[in-house]
């Protein structure tokens, strides 16, 4: 029981950036743009978050909020960087996968280059605090026995939970959401009904960039002490896997993200659990990928993903 309780903070810490980045992927894919560069946007967001945090930390007025301003910086820079994807795929009709791959590669280079310029080394300087854990959560921590699980978790998980609800509401309950989904299913039909496909997709990609940038900043400011070239280490792709495993649905991605986080925590605590300690810890690291492949096979017959996702929209083509 005590092991299970210790696994809660570990699970939530890893799940938070996966969930938020996957929601970013959801907006973009629902509008018909495959966003394979979540990883790259997360890098840029993580770099911006760490940099702002380091630079503001010693400031007397902004110092106490440096971590949160870092998150804001990640979000804003994520939007700006995602415009590269929007311009290349929406205006210039580039192949989504190739454009995304290029943007990923650019992110790795540009962030390290900027670190070299700003800090004179290949990584940012270490920040002293970043985002801190909550010692105690009102109400939740007071519950007997399981209340223990809610001590020492990062407040960012609540951002993720709120974003899941907001995403669900926006995608399924608002006019914008309906337009968004129609652009991803059949853009020509949507255009014939007077929807501006370009504008809708632009908005979707920018929201996607905001969420991925925020996720990257959260990851750097909660997991480590500085931004390095390996800070994001593939979590952007795990987020895409969570999106697929969650069937392109906000609640599904929440479940998938929590499950991937749990499997990572299990890898850490397995050595203390009888029977599980016989399995090599690498096994738990590959569970997310194995399950995603299984999910793809199971879903392959049924149409669950947006139909027009990845297709280039050309108003003149039928």
């Amino acid at each position: 029981m005590s092991i299970l309780i210790s696994m809660v903070p570990a699970t939530l810490m890893v799940a938070t950036p996966i969930i938020i980045a996957a929601l970013g992927g959801l907006f973009s894919e629902r509008s018909g743009i495959v966003n394979i560069c979540i990883e790259g946007i997360m890098m840029v967001g993580g770099f911006a978050g760490a940099t702002v945090c380091v630079l503001l930390e010693s400031d007397p007025t902004f110092g106490p909020y440096a971590g949160w301003l870092g998150l804001l910086a990640g979000l804003v820079v994520g939007i700006i960087y995602s415009l590269l994807l929007a311009v290349s795929t929406i205006n210039f009709k580039a192949d989504h996968t190739i454009a995304g791959t290029a943007i990923n590669m650019l992110a790795a280079g540009i962030t390290i280059y900027l670190c070299q310029i700003i800090f004179g080394q290949q990584r940012t300087i270490a920040f002293s605090k970043g985002i801190s854990k909550m010692k105690k959560i009102p109400l939740l921590s007071d519950i007997p026995i399981i209340g223990q699980a809610f001590t020492g978790i990062y407040p960012t998980i609540f951002i993720a939970l709120i974003l899941v609800l907001v995403t669900w509401f926006v995608v399924y309950k608002t006019r914008f959401g309906l337009r968004l989904r129609s652009c991803g299913e059949n853009p020509h039909a949507a255009a014939s009904m007077g929807i501006n496909v370009y504008k809708t997709r632009y908005a979707a990609v920018m929201i996607s960039g905001a969420l991925a940038g925020l996720a990257g900043a959260i990851m750097v400011l909660t997991n480590g002490i500085q931004y390095t070239a390996s800070s994001i280490h593939g979590v952007g792709f795990i987020a895409i896997a969570a999106l697929i495993f969650g069937k392109w649905h906000p609640l599904g991605t929440l479940g998938a993200g929590l499950f991937f986080g749990f499997s990572s925590a299990l890898g850490v605590y397995a050595s203390m659990i009888p029977l599980l300690n016989l399995i090599p810890s690498e096994f738990f690291s590959c569970i997310p990928y194995i399950l995603t492949i299984v999910a793809l096979i199971i879903f392959s017959g049924k149409a669950v993903g947006p139909k027009a996702s990845g297709q280039i929209y050309d108003a003149g083509k039928r």
């Binding site: 210790s6 903070p9 570990a10 810490m13 890893v14 930390e57 110092g63 205006n91 210039f92 070299q116 004179g120 080394q121 290949q122 300087i125 270490a126 002293s128 605090k129 970043g130 801190s132 854990k133 020492g152 990851m219 909660t222 997991n223 480590g224 002490i225 500085q226 390095t228 390996s230 800070s231 280490h233 990572s264 925590a265 890898g267 850490v268 605590y269 397995a270 050595s271 203390m272 300690n277 810890s281 690498e282 690291s285």
Partner: protein, 358 residues
């Protein structure tokens, strides 16, 4: 409108490409320039350092290696006889090494195991040039391979960890490595022996992150070990070790031990104190300095040269007034003397399995 935008982007790309290439030539000419001054100024030896990806100001291995070369140059008044070339990708290794060899440098230095293939190739092509290869072994006659006895430095930080755990009564410490194997295994081995030397009933938890980049996993493992009662964790896991430092900062009343270089600054909390108890130092500058000196004295020869406590190749960071008390520092120095004199022999075989404790 769209065409205009395309044209603009195309222009932008070509301009930036042109900018890149022009800055490259600039760099080439500056190195060329330093070369001409060095040959004209009667150099007893000429030395070239090829950096790994990252410059000589990367606050890490490259910087340390260049500092060793510069210390040598200053002491002997040979500032004009040393120069460096920066590598931006792995593809630069062979051309950079060959450039120095072509220029007739007496000694060419490369730092980091990533150079293994490049050194093997270039040292065979230039049998008359001497090479120093830091951190790994290439078995050629004209290559000196410098390796480090990490277990000796790890023993000393183990002493610091054991004494600290005794002091606060937890008698529990932890070790977190990157990937299991002989390299990190020697760090673990030295640490185990150092802890047990001062606290023979101390408990040591050992975990590996299976990664040098996953700081989230590092933080999870650190939380697990601290929850189990560990007061100090020695991390030897590259960027994954950053997770250990972050978790130590969150808790505030526990310690982490740095690796390879002095990580005191990385552990700074907002109250101006650091969670880094001490750091295991790998002195790359000692290796480059001694190779340059050997070159000048004509005693440089190929083969493997081991850097340990005796020749200042490894050590523990013991700056007074930080987190170690003077008494602990005295004991660390004591053990260092015993290891140097051979009274204590530190084995490089780890005994505690991944995911368990003694």
């Amino acid at each position: 409108m769209k065409k205009a935008l395309k044209l603009f982007l195309a222009l932008l790309v070509s301009v930036s490409l042109a900018a890149c290439s022009s800055s490259n030539t600039e760099e080439a000419t500056t190195t060329e320039g330093s070369e001409t001054t060095s040959t004209s100024g009667e150099c007893p030896v000429t030395i070239g350092l090829v950096t790994d990806m990252g410059g000589v100001d990367d606050k890490s291995f490259n910087q340390s290696a260049w500092e060793g070369v510069q210390r040598f140059a200053e002491e002997n008044g040979l500032q004009d006889c040393v120069s460096y070339l920066q590598s931006t990708t792995e593809a630069d290794y062979v051309p950079n090494l060959s450039t120095f060899a072509d220029e007739g440098k007496d000694l060419v230095i490369a730092v980091g195991y990533l150079f293994n293939e490049a050194i093997t190739e270039v040292s065979a092509n230039y049998p008359d040039t001497m090479f120093l290869f830091v951190d790994d072994v290439v078995d050629h006659e004209n290559v000196e391979s410098a390796t480090f006895n990490a277990e000796q430095g790890s023993f000393l930080v183990g002493v610091a960890a054991g004494l600290t755990a005794m002091e606060n009564g937890s008698k529990t410490v932890g070790f977190m490595g990157g990937m299991e194997g002989p390299i990190i295994g020697s760090f673990q081995a030295g640490y185990e022996q150092g802890v047990l030397a001062v606290c023979n009933d101390c408990k040591i938890y050992v975990d590996y992150a299976d990664s040098y980049s996953d700081d989230a996993k590092g933080q999870q493992l650190a939380a697990k070990q601290y929850d189990l009662g560990a007061t100090v964790i020695y991390q030897s896991a590259g960027n994954a070790g950053n997770g250990v430092i972050k978790e130590a900062k969150e808790r505030g009343d526990v310690w982490a031990i740095g690796v390879d270089k002095d990580q005191y600054q990385d552990g700074m909390k907002d109250d101006g104190t650091s969670v880094i108890l001490t750091s295991m130092l790998k002195r790359v500058d000692s290796a480059t300095y001694s190779a340059c000196t050997d070159m000048l004295n004509g005693t440089f020869e190929g083969g493997t040269k081991v850097f340990n406590l005796s020749n200042d190749g490894v050590g523990a960071e013991v700056t007074s007034g930080r987190n170690l008390s003077d008494d602990v520092i005295a004991q660390i120095n004591d053990y260092a003397e015993k290891i140097k004199s051979g009274e204590i022999e530190v084995s490089s075989e780890a005994t505690i399995a991944n995911g368990s404790s003694n």
